[in-house]
C-alpha cells in the first residue's frame, strides 16, 4: 500500500507520529544516544541533522533520506568524526545491520514519478510525432535544470509560465506548418530582367551593353558558370509564361548554342551543383541577332530561373580544364608563352609573388593579355615538355593550385573574344494558374499519414477517425472516448463559428500540444501501466516516444512479459554513437562531458574546438562499443581499445605507430591493457571536464571519481560550514595548496577522502595529455594517493587495477546512474539493494555490459 506522503512539502507539517511511527529498538537506540546525540540532538542539530527520536515515521520521505544517510556514514566510517569517541567495530556493525534491515523493511521499491518531458525528450517527441527530423527547440526556449547531474529528474522538471508560453509558440508553429493560413489570390504580373538584373558570379558572366555573356559549361557549382535574375523571385507557386531572348556571340562553330534553363531557389547556396536544380528546358540558338523563345513552366515559391550555356567552349570541370588548355597551348605558342610568363615570371618554375589567387578573374586575364600583346614576347620556352608547361598543366588539375582561379581568368578571354552565348532579356508572366509546390504535396501527404486517409471535411466523423489515430501517438497510449470528444469539440465548435477546415485543425493541434497528456509522462492512471513501461523503455533507450510496435505490445498487455520485454529492449538497444541519442545524452550527463562546450582550453595547450569534439566522440564511440559488444564491466576501466583519429591518438595519447585510415577519421585504436591510456579514467574528455581548461584541480577530479566511478559520493558540505579562504602562503604545488586547505578541521573530514583520489590523476594535464612535472613550479608530480577504504595507490595504473579488482563498486555506480537516467529518480535504499544483486550476478557469471542493461530493465526498480 502506498501511504499518503507529506514529502512534497518536506517538513512543512508532521503527521501524528503515533499512526505510522515505528519505535527504535533499545540496543541501536543506546548506540545512537552514546555516539551521535552529542552533536545531533534536537538542541544542537549539527549540520541540521537531528537524530533525537524514539521512533521513526517512515511515511515521511525526509526520514527515509535521513536514515539512509545515517547508514552510509556509519557503514563507511565517516561518523563520528575522528576527534570524538568511536564505537567498537562490533558496535558499528550492529548499528549498521539494524539500519540495513529496518531500511529494507520500511522503504519499498519506489514508483516512477510522473513528470513532464525534458527538453530533449520534448524535442525528439516532436521530431517523431510530426516527422520533422531536424526540428530543434527555438533559441531562447527555457532550459531544464540539472538535478543530481541529470536533466530528466522528476524533481527538476518544473513548469513555469515562460515554459508554457514557449510550448504554446512551438504548437502554433507546428500547426502553421500543417495548416498554413489562407492567402489571397495573387494578381498576374509580368516581371522583366535585363542584363543588369542578372547575377554576375565569379567569372561566369559579364555585361556588354544590352547583352550578358555566358562562357563556361562548368557544372560543378552554379557560381562559376550560371547566371540568374536577382530581382525576380516567385512568391506564389504556379505556372508562369517565360520568354527569353538570346543570341550567339562570335561563334566558331556552326552548331547551335544550347541554353539550359533550370529553376533554382533564390536563397540557395551558390556552391550548389548545377544538376541539383530542377531542369526546365533547353533551347537552341543559331543566330547572331537576338531571338526570343517562350514556354510555360511551373515555378515554386522562392524560385527563379537559372541559365547556363550547355555546350560552351570552356569549363571549370576538374577533369576538363587542363585538357582544354593543353589543346590550346598545342595550337597556340603565343598563348602558352603568355601564360608561362604570367604564372612563372622568373627563371625557374616559381609562382608569381601574390600567388595564383591574385590571378583570379579579369586581373589574371589582363596580365596574360599584356604578354600576348607584347611584340617581343619570348617564345623560347613555349614547348609542351618545358617544365613550366608541365607545372602549369598540373596546377590546372589541382584545386589548391588554383584551377578555379586560372579557369576564371580564362573565362575572360571568351568574354572578350567569344564565343559566348548572349542573354538579352528574360521575362516572366504569372501566375497563370496556381499549382501545389512539392512542399504543399508533402504537407497533404503528411496530413494523411498523421490523421488517416479520411476525407478532410468539417464533420464529427472526420475527427472521430483523425483524432483517434493521432491522439494515441500524441498521448502515447490508449485514449478514452471522452478525451477524443473533448478535442473534437474544440474543432467542431470552431467550424460552427464559421471557420475553415484548416482553422479548426490548427486550433485542435495547438491545444493537443499543450495538454498535460502530451507534456507529461508516467502519469499513473488506471490501465496504462503497460504503456508507461513502453514509454519508459523507449525514452530510456531511444530518447523518443514509443513506436507503433511498442504501443501494440502495450495494448495487448504483452510488454510486461519478461521474454517480450527483453526482445524489445534488444531491438531498441543503442548501437550507433552517431545516431543514438541515448549514448550522447547519458554519457554527457553521467560523465559530465556535456560541460565540454563551456571549456576553453588555454591556447598554450593547442587544443581547439575540433579536438574537444573528438574527445567527446571518443567517450561516445567507446561507450557504444562496450554496449554493442557486450564487453565485461572491467573494460570500462582497463580496456584494450579506444577510439580516436590518428592525429588525436598521436597528439594526446602519444601513440606513435602508424594507424590506418585518414588522419582525421575516427577509428578503433588497439591498446595494451594495464597502461595509462584507455578506459574512462584516462580519456581526454574526462580530464577536460574535471579541469577548467587552464589548470588541474585534484579536488574536482577526486570528487568526480568518487561520484561517477566508485559510487561513494562525498556528502554535501554541511550548510553551517562557512565559506573559507585558507592560508595558502608558501604552497607551490597543488598538493601543498590542498594540504593548507585541509588543515581546516571542518573540511578535512571529507577532503581526506576526496583529495588523495584526485592526486592520482595529476599526471594528466587539463586536456588529458600525460605530464611528469607541474607546469608552474616545474616540480616532479607526486601521483600517490589513498582510497577512502585506506588502500594506498602509487599512480593511476594502480587505481585502475584496484577498480578492476573491485569492479562491483563501479558496476553498482554505473547501474545507479543508468536507473536514475531511466526512471527520473535517485534509487532508494531498497532499489540499490536490488541493483547490487544484479551487479554481483553479472560479475559472478562473467556477463557483459549489455547483459547488465537487460537485467536492469527487468528489475523492479525499472518496471515499477
Amino acid at each position: 500500500m502506498r501511504l499518503a506522503m507529506g514529502s512534497f512539502i518536506a517538513g512543512a507539517f508532521l503527521l501524528p507520529a503515533c499512526i505510522f511511527a515505528s519505535p527504535i529498538p533499545e540496543k541501536p537506540y543506546a548506540l545512537i544516544e552514546r555516539y551521535c546525540l552529542d552533536c545531533h540532538d534536537s538542541d544542537t542539530q549539527k549540520g541540521e541533522v537531528n537524530l533525537e527520536t524514539e521512533s521513526i515515521d517512515w511515511s515521511a520521505k525526509d526520514n527515509q533520506h535521513l536514515w539512509e544517510r545515517v547508514h552510509k556514514v556509519v557503514n563507511e566510517g565517516l561518523m563520528p568524526p575522528e576527534n570524538k569517541k568511536q564505537p567498537t567495530s562490533s558496535e558499528r556493525e550492529e548499528l549498521s545491520r539494524w539500519l540495513d534491515s529496518t531500511l529494507l523493511q520500511h522503504i519499498p521499491i519506489a514508483i516512477t514519478p510522473p513528470r513532464r518531458l525534458s527538453n530533449t525528450e520534448y524535442q525528439t517527441t516532436i521530431q517523431k510525432l510530426f516527422e520533422i527530423h531536424d526540428f530543434k527547440l527555438p533559441v531562447g526556449f527555457p532550459p531544464d535544470a540539472k538535478y543530481h547531474g541529470f536533466n530528466n529528474i522528476a524533481s527538476g522538471l518544473t513548469i513555469s509560465p515562460p515554459l508554457m508560453e514557449a510550448y504554446q509558440n512551438v504548437a502554433s508553429q507546428l500547426a502553421d506548418s500543417l495548416y498554413p493560413p489562407a492567402r489571397e489570390t495573387p494578381k498576374v504580373k509580368t516581371l522583366v530582367a535585363g542584363p543588369d538584373d542578372l547575377v554576375l558570379s565569379f567569372s561566369a558572366a559579364t555585361v556588354h551593353g544590352d547583352a550578358l555573356r555566358l562562357v563556361s559549361r562548368g557544372n560543378d557549382s552554379v557560381m562559376r558558370s550560371c547566371t540568374w535574375p536577382s530581382r525576380m523571385e516567385v512568391n506564389r507557386s504556379g505556372t508562369y509564361r517565360i520568354t527569353v531572348s538570346a543570341s550567339k556571340f562570335k561563334p566558331i562553330k556552326d552548331e547551335p548554342m544550347e541554353l539550359e534553363i533550370r529553376a533554382r531557389e533564390v536563397a540557395a547556396s551558390d556552391r550548389t551543383h548545377v544538376g541539383s536544380f530542377r531542369f526546365l528546358k533547353t533551347f537552341e540558338f543559331s543566330k547572331e541577332s537576338a531571338e526570343s523563345v517562350t514556354f510555360e513552366a511551373d515555378l515554386y515559391e522562392g524560385q527563379t530561373l537559372m541559365f547556363r550555356w550547355k555546350n560552351a567552349e570552356t569549363t571549370h570541370n576538374p577533369s576538363e580544364v587542363s585538357a582544354h588548355m593543353r589543346a590550346w597551348f598545342e595550337r597556340d605558342k603565343r598563348m602558352l608563352a603568355a601564360w608561362q610568363h604570367t604564372v612563372y615570371p622568373g627563371q625557374g618554375v616559381k609562382e608569381r609573388s601574390g600567388g595564383l589567387g591574385s590571378l583570379r578573374g579579369l586581373n589574371g586575364w589582363n596580365i596574360v593579355k599584356q604578354h600576348l600583346n607584347d611584340p617581343d614576347l619570348d617564345l623560347s620556352n613555349a614547348t609542351m615538355d618545358h617544365p613550366k608547361t608541365v607545372a602549369l598543366l598540373k596546377v590546372l588539375r589541382t584545386i589548391s593550385g588554383g584551377r578555379f582561379n586560372l579557369a576564371d581568368a580564362i573565362c575572360h578571354y571568351y568574354h572578350e573574344n567569344g564565343p559566348a552565348l548572349q542573354l538579352h532579356k528574360v521575362s516572366m508572366e504569372g501566375p497563370l494558374k496556381l499549382v501545389d509546390s512539392p512542399q504543399d504535396k508533402q504537407r497533404y501527404a503528411k496530413r494523411k499519414r498523421l490523421f488517416g486517409n479520411v476525407a478532410e471535411e468539417k464533420t464529427e466523423e472526420y475527427f472521430e477517425a483523425a483524432l483517434h489515430k493521432f491522439l494515441v501517438r500524441a498521448f502515447r497510449g490508449p485514449v478514452a472516448q471522452e478525451t477524443i470528444d473533448r478535442y473534437s469539440r474544440i474543432g467542431t465548435t470552431h467550424w460552427k463559428e464559421g471557420h475553415s477546415f484548416e482553422e479548426g485543425m490548427h486550433l485542435v493541434l495547438r491545444k493537443i500540444l499543450v495538454s498535460p497528456r502530451f507534456l507529461f509522462r508516467s502519469i499513473p492512471t488506471k490501465d496504462t501501466q503497460q504503456h508507461q513501461l513502453a514509454a519508459r523503455l523507449s525514452y530510456f533507450l531511444k530518447g523518443s516516444p514509443p513506436d507503433s510496435t511498442l504501443l501494440k505490445l502495450a495494448d495487448s498487455g504483452q510488454l510486461s512479459d519478461p521474454t517480450v520485454l527483453k526482445k524489445e529492449a534488444l531491438r531498441l538497444m543503442p548501437k550507433d554513437a552517431r545516431h543514438d541519442i541515448m549514448i550522447k545524452s547519458f554519457t554527457g550527463q553521467w560523465l559530465e562531458t556535456d560541460r565540454l562546450g563551456e571549456i576553453m582550453p588555454d591556447p598554450k595547450f593547442k587544443f581547439d574546438a575540433s579536438k574537444i569534439g573528438m574527445a567527446r566522440l571518443e567517450v561516445e564511440y567507446f561507450f557504444a562499443a562496450m554496449l554493442k559488444e557486450n564487453r565485461p564491466l572491467a573494460d570500462f576501466i582497463d580496456p584494450d581499445f579506444t577510439y580516436a583519429t590518428p592525429i588525436f591518438a598521436k597528439d594526446v595519447y602519444k601513440i606513435d605507430r602508424k594507424l590506418k585510415g585518414r588522419h582525421d577519421s575516427i577509428q578503433r585504436v588497439n591498446l595494451s591493457q594495464g597502461g595509462r591510456v584507455g578506459g574512462l579514467l584516462g580519456q581526454s574528455a574526462i580530464m577536460l571536464t574535471t579541469a577548467n581548461g587552464v589548470d588541474t584541480q585534484p579536488v574536482l577530479r577526486g570528487a568526480w571519481v568518487l561520484e561517477n566511478i566508485i559510487g561513494m559520493p562525498p556528502p554535501e558540505p554541511p550548510q553551517d560550514v562557512p565559506a573559507l579562504t585558507p592560508d595558502i602562503r608558501g604552497a607551490t604545488t597543488p598538493r601543498e595548496l590542498l594540504a593548507a586547505h585541509t588543515k581546516e578541521a571542518s573540511c578535512a573530514g571529507c577532503h581526506k577522502r576526496i583529495d588523495p583520489v584526485g592526486f592520482v590523476l595529476e599526471n594528466y594535464d587539463p586536456v588529458g595529455r600525460w605530464r611528469e612535472v607541474w607546469p608552474k613550479s616545474k616540480k616532479k608530480i607526486d601521483p600517490t594517493g589513498v582510497l577512502p577504504a585506506g588502500t594506498d595507490l602509487k599512480d593511476v595504473t594502480e587505481l585502475k587495477a584496484w577498480l578492476v579488482k573491485n569492479i562491483d563498486h563501479f558496476g553498482l555506480c554505473l547501474s545507479e546512474k543508468l536507473m536514475t537516467y531511466a526512471t527520473g529518480r535517485i534509487p532508494n535504499y531498497a532499489e540499490r539493494k536490488e541493483l547490487e544483486s544484479i551487479v554481483s550476478l553479472n560479475i559472478d557469471r562473467e556477463k557483459g555490459f549489455q547483459d547488465l542493461l537487460l537485467d536492469l530493465i527487468q528489475s523492479k526498480t525499472f518496471r515499477n
Binding site: M5, I159, E165, G355, N405, T525
Partner: protein, 413 residues
C-alpha cells in the same frame, strides 16, 4: 507623448516599452541606450582603412572617405584584436572575444538592456554567401539566426493590419479553447492517485498565467501602431550581388527600429562570396571573395577598396539618419547609440586574425580620431578591452570579457 504599443508578428510575445523606462531615460540615464554592431566577413583592407597619422588631425584614408563629414563622431582603432588563432574558421569570434561561439558582446548587452524591448536583439545579414552562420552568440553559445530578407524584418517591426488580425484571431481562438484543455487536465487530475494529485499544480498555475497574458495582449491589440512612411522594393534583395541594396535597406530599418524603440540592440553581418559587383556602372574584375585574396596585387586591391568604400557609403547613410533623428529627450539618436564597425578578419588575403580594423561611432564618447595600439606588444590592450569600455558606457557593470579584463577608458571615454 502617446504611449506606444507593439505587437509581435509571431502573435504571442508582446511587450510594452514601459512608460517608466521612458520617464527614467529623461530623468536619470544620460549615457547611450542603444548598441549596433556591424561586421564584415572578409575584413577591411588595413592600408586603406588606417590613417597614416594618429589623433584627430589625419588625412582621411580612401575607404573612410564617405564618412569624412562625420569625423567628429567616430574613432578609428588600429592594433586591437582578440589574440586568437588565425584561420577563416575563427572569423566568427568578432563579437565573441578569443573563442568562437562564446557569449558575444551584443548579447551580453541585450541580456542587460534589451529585456524591456519587444525584441531584446535583432540580427540581420546582407549579401549572404557562405560566411559564418552567426555573428551573435547567446550565453550558452548558441548562434543566433540572422534575418536575410528586409521584408521579414519590416513585418516584425511594423506588423500590417492583416498581420495583427491574424494575431488577434490566434489569441482569441486560442484563449477560448483553453477551457477544454483545462477541463481535460482536471479530468486527468481526478484520475490520479491522491498522492500524486499535486503534480499538475505548476501546470495549472502556468496555464492560468498564460491565459491572463493572452487577455492583456488582446486588450491592447487594436491600439494604433506607428507605420513608418517607408517603401520596400517589391522583391527582397537577397542575391549576393545585391548586397549594397540590402545593406542600405537594413540600415534604414535599423534607424527606424531605434527611433520607434522595438529594439535597442542590433547587428548587421556583411557576408561575401563570389558576387561580382558593378559599382558606378563598372563591373569589378573578380568576385568579392576573390578580391579579398589579392596577394598584394595592386589592381585587385583597388577593386577591393572600391567594395569596402561602397560599404562605408551605405554606413554613412545610417550615421546621417542617426544624427538627424532625435530621441524623446531631444538628443540625437547617434548620441544615444554606440555603433561598432569591425570584423574578425584582420587580413583576409592571409587569413590573419590579428590587428582588426575597428570604428566606434556616437554614443556620447569623446572621439579621438585615430587611436593606434601596438598589437605585437603583449601589454597592449585587446579588442575586448574596447568592448568593456562600450559596455560600461551603456551602463553595464562588467569588468571582464573573454580574455580582456581592463578597459580602454583611459584612452577613450
Amino acid at each position: 507623448m502617446k504611449r506606444r504599443k507593439f505587437l509581435s508578428a509571431a502573435g504571442i510575445s508582446v511587450a510594452l516599452p514601459a512608460l517608466e523606462s521612458l520617464a527614467a531615460s529623461s530623468s536619470k540615464v544620460t549615457g547611450p541606450r542603444n548598441f549596433v554592431a556591424i561586421g564584415t566577413y572578409l575584413g577591411w583592407h588595413q592600408n586603406a582603412f588606417y590613417p597614416k597619422e594618429t589623433g584627430t588631425d589625419y588625412s582621411t584614408p580612401s575607404t573612410l572617405k564617405p564618412l569624412e563629414s562625420y569625423k567628429d563622431s567616430f574613432t578609428i582603432f588600429s592594433g586591437l584584436d582578440h589574440r586568437a588563432p588565425n584561420g577563416h574558421g575563427n572569423w566568427g569570434n568578432f563579437l565573441c572575444g578569443q573563442s568562437i561561439k562564446s557569449y558575444s558582446v551584443d548579447q551580453m548587452i541585450a541580456d542587460q538592456v534589451g529585456g524591456k524591448s519587444r525584441f531584446p536583439s535583432i540580427q540581420t545579414v546582407a549579401g549572404a554567401g557562405e560566411g559564418a552562420k552567426a555573428m551573435s552568440f547567446t550565453k550558452e553559445g548558441v548562434g543566433l539566426p540572422m534575418i536575410q530578407r528586409p521584408s521579414v524584418l519590416y513585418k516584425l517591426l511594423f506588423p500590417s493590419k492583416a498581420d495583427r488580425a491574424r494575431t488577434e484571431y490566434l489569441l482569441r481562438s486560442g484563449r477560448s479553447a483553453l477551457d477544454e484543455v483545462t477541463a481535460d487536465a482536471i479530468a486527468l487530475q481526478k484520475s490520479l492517485p491522491s498522492s500524486d494529485a499535486n503534480i499538475l499544480d505548476q501546470y495549472f498555475t502556468s496555464l492560468r498565467s498564460v491565459e491572463k497574458r493572452m487577455g492583456q495582449q488582446l486588450a491592447i491589440i487594436n491600439e494604433p501602431v506607428p507605420q513608418p512612411n517607408y517603401k520596400l522594393p517589391s522583391y527582397d534583395p537577397i542575391t549576393p550581388n545585391l548586397q549594397m541594396e540590402a545593406e542600405a535597406i537594413f540600415y534604414d530599418l535599423m534607424a527606424l527600429a531605434l527611433e520607434t524603440e522595438p529594439s535597442r540592440v542590433m547587428s548587421l553581418f556583411l557576408d561575401g562570396l563570389g558576387q561580382v559587383f558593378s559599382i558606378d556602372g563598372k563591373a569589378l574584375g573578380a568576385g568579392y571573395h576573390g578580391l579579398s585574396h589579392h596577394g598584394n596585387d595592386p589592381a585587385m586591391i583597388q577593386d577591393l577598396i572600391t567594395i569596402e568604400t561602397a560599404h562605408m557609403h551605405c554606413l554613412s547613410g545610417f550615421i546621417k539618419q542617426l544624427q538627424e533623428k532625435k530621441t524623446v529627450t531631444g538628443k540625437s539618436l547617434l548620441d544615444d547609440t554606440i555603433v561598432l564597425v569591425g570584423t574578425g578578419m584582420g587580413d583576409a588575403s592571409r587569413h590573419s586574425n590579428r590587428d582588426l580594423p575597428t570604428l566606434v561611432f556616437g554614443g556620447g564618447f569623446k572621439h579621438k580620431g585615430h587611436l593606434s595600439f601596438d598589437h605585437n606588444s603583449s601589454s597592449s590592450p585587446l579588442l575586448g578591452d574596447l568592448y568593456l569600455s562600450i559596455m560600461q558606457k551603456l551602463g553595464l557593470e562588467v569588468s571582464e570579457f573573454s580574455n580582456a579584463n581592463k578597459n580602454l577608458n583611459g584612452h577613450f571615454s
